[in-house]
Symmetry: C2
Subunit: 215 residues, 2 copies
DNA sequence: AGAGAAATTATAAGATCGTATAACAAGAGA
DNA sequence: TCTCTTGTTATACGATCTTATAATTTCTCT
């Protein structure tokens, strides 16, 4: 009988405070991120995430239907935060295309984004995306938005400084790949280079663009 | 009672052929790779890998002690194959530094390496490396070897063509990051660019190096 | 042919997993 | 104060997990 333990004694249920569904979903999503941060793929577990959020596992099913929906939601939280942070940095920069692009680079290597734990969550998510149509769809949308943002930054730079880029889309893809690759490399091997060096490598790439190194 | 099923009838054990321990380890390692290829993280399971190899789960414990040792072994198989394939391609190229570097680039985008399933295994492994000191140690060694190989290719090119590179190690890190980033991007979004475009982006990077885009 | 080493199977224990659902409690609104 | 909606807990089922180990089989060597 609910509320009564094996010895027949009445056991009170845990007290809780009701929350708006979206607030609770957000709480569970952030708990999921923390679990992945701590345990990698082994942290993707209804019980662990519920415990991290301070609730019971039934709440996960209630709000998300199944664990993969929660993981996809957590991925969306993370993706939205990333693009928002980068756009905020660009918007806060001096309004020349050069300064805006450089603000983008600096933000990419700032401690908020260029953090071993944060990048580790990304790496685990990339592995999960491959086997989740739901997450794959989200990722494709976010990747397109990200590359489009980079295209604008590179296009503005070229127009502002009077040089041509053969294929802006491919250049944006290359720049994005370089950044992701540096994130990955540093995450796996933090001793391989310093954030300042990472920024320099990106600036070098931009210098190459100016010098005509494009298809 | 061993050998007798529930109905009391004597059930013969499965027949098997003994193999040398290293042959069996190799078989299990390759089965592990196939499971990760098919199922991602969900494929990292003693039962699934044993089934894929056509043996029973006791064999995994016998040969590897625990599942994480098998996964690390599979990772080493994969890493060894990668570097070997790239070095073979470079060795088979015409002996000029330019041709050797270009052979490296072409091999990196050849169907053997630039394959959705193969790259998918890498992405999953990257996530696993972060939470496995054993795999992390392996990865660091392999990353160092890979970057050293790239350093030699870039250094030879610069010497051969009479241009200077400010910091060859950082240039090698950047080139490696660009390649890994392109592999990752294509694996997650195969429609974002074609292999030929990927090679071109790498050649563009090299062009930039020649033009002085380095720190 | 037989002994013996060791490769391998079969089985089991204890743990954790995801999902489902009945029951309860919070709290808003009348 | 009471009703009712709905957020949430508690519990359970069936499945899968890893590791351990006794027993069996393969196959080499004498």
């Amino acid at each position: 009988m609910a509320g009564v333990n094996a010895g027949g004694e009445r056991k009170e249920r845990a007290r809780f405070r009701r929350q708006a569904p979206e607030d609770r979903r957000r709480q569970l999503g952030e708990a999921a991120l923390r679990c992945i941060l701590k345990h990698g793929n082994a942290g993707v577990s209804v019980r662990q995430i519920a415990a991290e959020a301070g609730v019971t596992q039934g709440l996960v099913t209630h709000h998300f239907g199944e664990i993969s929906e929660l993981v996809a939601y957590a991925f969306d939280i993370m993706s939205g935060s990333l693009l928002q942070a980068l756009m905020d940095a660009v918007a806060a920069a001096a309004p020349t295309p050069h300064e805006r692009l450089d603000a983008f680079i600096e933000a990419s290597f700032s401690p908020v984004l260029f953090d071993r734990d944060v990048l580790g969550v990304w790496v685990v998510f990339w592995g999960l995306v491959l086997h989740s149509p739901r997450m794959s769809a989200s990722q494709q949308g976010e990747y397109s938005d990200y590359v489009a943002a980079v295209e604008r930054l590179l296009g503005d730079l070229a127009a502002s400084e009077g040089f041509a880029i053969g294929d802006v889309r491919l250049a944006a893809i290359a720049f994005t790949a370089l950044l992701d690759g540096l994130w990955l490399a540093w995450c796996l091997n933090p001793s391989s280079f310093r954030p300042e060096e990472g920024m320099q490598l990106c600036r070098n790439w931009v210098k190459g663009l100016r010098l005509g190194a494009h298809g």
